[in-house]
Symmetry: C2
Subunit: 212 residues, 2 copies
């Protein structure tokens, strides 16, 4: 089972690595890291992850995972990336996004009429690509599986792991990564965070989206 | 505020990246990725993360983060790594571990008489380094902050973020990464997973520790 993770500069490292830590644990999983060009990709705030494959070398992955991050906009302006996403989706068992990775699927035209989700601040943009954008932790519609922001890739990947390999395997992976979350605050959703924190995060997101 | 992440081959990627996604978001954070030798380090199951600095180039980080993974054993046999850990701990505001990274702190002699935690299957080994090994999501004892396995680095880092930068900042980071966890199963702890899953994971861990 080949699992292809798309990389690009300004990817969110945790979007990719949360899903990776779950899905790479599945039986017979072979993970490849794919980008338009081989080599290091600089994640948001500087960690370098290495893309070992270029797009043309991975024509038929069983699972394709598209992480988010502010770099998705530039990646979505590369026709080679969009055409690769359309091509691999034809034969993939699962086409998966984390966070604003869903916007890339949208730009590729894969979410027309589909229920899908994304980072809470990107839901309006997701709807602009013809998706039925819903606020859920993850959404499965046919062969497309999308998740909410960043850390949601872990929850979504465990649900997907159960679909792919059964609940016993998924639960063993969950215990393997000791995923018994105990956040010290309840600020992980807009409702839990309250208006002051929401304003802070919204302003920072808008500034980054505007390229400031 | 310089935050140094230690890297080595066979590190758990999520141990490092969960903490990174939180701590790198703090005001004035400058993150460096440090290893005995510069260059790509192959995480467990194959993702390559790049170490941009060697140990001697990072003599006085404000925060040092030690991730786990099966490679901690080999890393802990390198006297240069252990002496770097002892040296940076002298002046660091926080010395932090995720998962079996605590065993490296133990090998360096930093946990003698300290309350500390680690991956659930590594608690007995942690105690062998003179720590009071406790089963908690994270433990703060003086300037040393240790967490349970893999995903626990996210919870611990949010708690640490609040100590470093205040609760408003920590909560904004939590909303920024939409950390509102909804695991599809309750298998993240031995008690929640039940005996069948515990046996599976225990056997796999023992085989990996034995180098099989």
């Amino acid at each position: 089972m080949q699992i292809a993770f798309l990389l690009f500069d300004d990817v969110n490292a945790l979007d990719a690595v949360g899903a990776y830590e779950v899905l790479s644990n599945l039986p017979r999983a072979e993970v490849v890291w794919v980008a338009a060009e081989r080599g290091p990709k600089r994640a948001v705030r500087g960690l370098n992850l290495i893309a070992t494959h270029v797009l043309g070398e991975v024509p038929r992955p069983d699972v394709v995972v598209v992480p988010g991050g502010f770099g998705e906009r530039a990646a979505g302006q590369d026709p080679a990336v969009l055409s690769w996403l359309r091509q691999v989706h034809e034969t993939a068992s699962w086409t998966v996004s984390v966070c604003t990775g869903a916007l890339l699927l949208g730009r590729a035209g894969l979410l027309q009429g589909k229920r899908a989700t994304t980072y809470w601040l990107a839901l309006p943009e997701l709807a602009s690509y013809g998706a039925e954008a819903v606020s859920e932790r993850w959404v499965i519609d046919g062969r497309i599986c999308t998740s909410a922001g960043v850390s949601a890739g872990i929850d979504m990947s465990l649900a997907l792991a159960a679909r792919i390999a059964g609940e016993t395997v998924a639960q063993a992976v969950q215990l393997g990564i000791e995923y018994d979350p105990r956040p010290p605050f309840s600020a992980g959703s807009p409702a839990g965070a309250g208006p002051e924190i929401v304003s802070l995060v919204r302003a920072r997101y808008a500034a980054r989206r505007a390229g400031l």
